[in-house]
């Protein structure tokens, strides 16, 4: 436990709150980097996922690609792109965007797919146009699973951003690698603890968001009439 004491001492050391290596700055970098990556990935994955989910076309391809991408080790992709584009922040951005796409894509299209077909059929039968079906039915009902996809993508990006410090001077991972180089275990451990806390905090935030975006009426709130329909509750997991 002595090791943890020194790690906490490192985290609390005022010397680590000034200059280019300041902890708040590193945390900010880590978050901004992750956020930008997620925005890029979402801009690609969400429209594509909605298209797949609404039309049902290209699903097989999406499943295969997502599964295949999961098998690709992040470090390999990261180092390969870094060799191509050179050391710097471009490689992590490219590699992590690629990695964040599959979970968001899956969240988007499974969100649409999990909706009771009869609900969509009925919406069409009463005269909703395809665009209205997407906007008024599929979007709100598919939101919980999309947020679920964003949640796993975020966790993955936060974790991999740590690894990104291997090829770029970026974020909290820097402490791990510079500590490794100088054999300063307090720094490594302190940095690791910070990353873990950051990841857990985001996990908690997402858990809260996910609870709020489940459309009312789908969540099966207790205390009211008995729940008789089971078909449409799939979206609530």
């Amino acid at each position: 436990m002595n090791l943890f004491a020194s790690a906490i001492a490192w985290i609390l050391d005022p010397a680590n709150y000034v200059g280019l290596n300041a902890i708040p700055l590193r945390i900010g970098q880590h978050l901004v980097f992750s956020l930008v990556t997620l925005v890029f990935a979402s801009a690609i994955a969400i429209p594509l996922g909605y298209l797949i989910g609404h039309t049902g076309r290209g699903r097989g391809l999406a499943v295969t690609t997502s599964g295949g991408l999961r098998a690709i080790p992040t470090l390999g992709l990261l180092t390969l792109v870094a060799l191509w584009v050179g050391i710097g922040v471009v490689a992590p951005y490219v590699a992590l965007t690629v990695l964040a796409i599959p979970p968001i894509l899956a969240g988007a299209y499974t969100g649409f797919e999990a909706i009771d077909r009869r609900t969509i059929d009925a919406a069409r039968a009463v005269g909703m146009s395809e665009l209205q079906i997407v906007r008024k039915v599929e979007l709100p009902l598919g939101l919980p699973l999309l947020i679920g996809g964003l949640r796993s993508a975020t966790l993955q990006v936060i974790a991999t951003a740590t690894l990104a410090a291997y090829v770029a001077d970026l974020g909290l991972g820097r402490y791990l690698f510079s500590g490794l180089k100088t054999r300063d275990y307090a720094e490594m451990l302190g940095g690791s603890i910070l990353v873990i806390l950051l990841a857990l905090a985001l996990e908690g935030i997402f858990a809260l968001i996910q609870r709020f975006v489940v459309p009312r009426g789908v969540s099966g709130r207790p205390g009211t009439a008995p729940k008789l329909r089971t078909g449409s509750s799939a979206a609530a997991r």
Binding site: R118, A122, V126, R216, V218, L228
Partner: protein, 292 residues
Amino acid sequence: MIEFRSVSKRFPDGTLAVQDFSLVLPSHKTTVLVGSSGSGKTTLLRMINRMVDPTSGSVEIDGEDIASLPPVKLRRGIGYVMQNSGLLPHRTVLDNVATVPLLRGTPKRQARADALAMLDTVGLDRALADRYPSQLSGGQQQRVGVARGLAVNPNILLMDEPFGAVDPIVRAELQQELVRLQKELDKTVVFVTHDIEEAFLLGDQIVILREGGRIAQVGSPADLLARPADDFVASFVGADRGRRVLHVERHGDGNVVVDSDGRLAGVLNGEPVAGTSAGSSAGSTPGAEGDR
């Protein structure tokens, strides 16, 4: 008036769901399409609001070929009620009923007021207006489904086994409610079911379908019972079996009606009269119901 003109439908997987189907569905009457699964009854129903387009032939509403009408606009003018209600789970009862009027551009305040009134029409307590579908019983959901189908005051109401998923007691209640509504509203109703009892109860015109959407017989309930076209129809309506073949027996001072198995079906009030309504009235006696 709805008219099918030699309509056929082959699905992309090769199944021939409907084959050369022609029929006139008179206005302000209830036409019931009856058949077992695979008879194409739902496909036929869905052709009326262009949820399914025929492979050949045409469907006309009041003389106009609906293939020339934009499907979305057409559907907004036709009421549709399906099994499992098909309500939007994330919208309240009131918003569900108001869905189509809002799609058609009715002002929100008006649409909600109309929807509230519609709840009365289908016999739902206004207190349920703010509930979500999952908070209602199956029967209540089905009533909301009917209210939604009626919300734009359509001339045509399509009902696809709307009472198929509720228990028998609630089903009987909803059927009576529909009979009452139809007396009040006088719509052109097209009703799909596999339950011949339901067909006899609700239908002015009954269409018995064989596999592949071929018509076995069209007629009033009494026609079908009294003059079944063939053995298929006879067996479908139950005219060949005990409980629809009734005779009168003398019992003490009165007459009782007994089926061919010797079970009591009801009491005969007065003397038998000439006519063809005996079949349909026997169909709704408690004895016949209890057999289900």
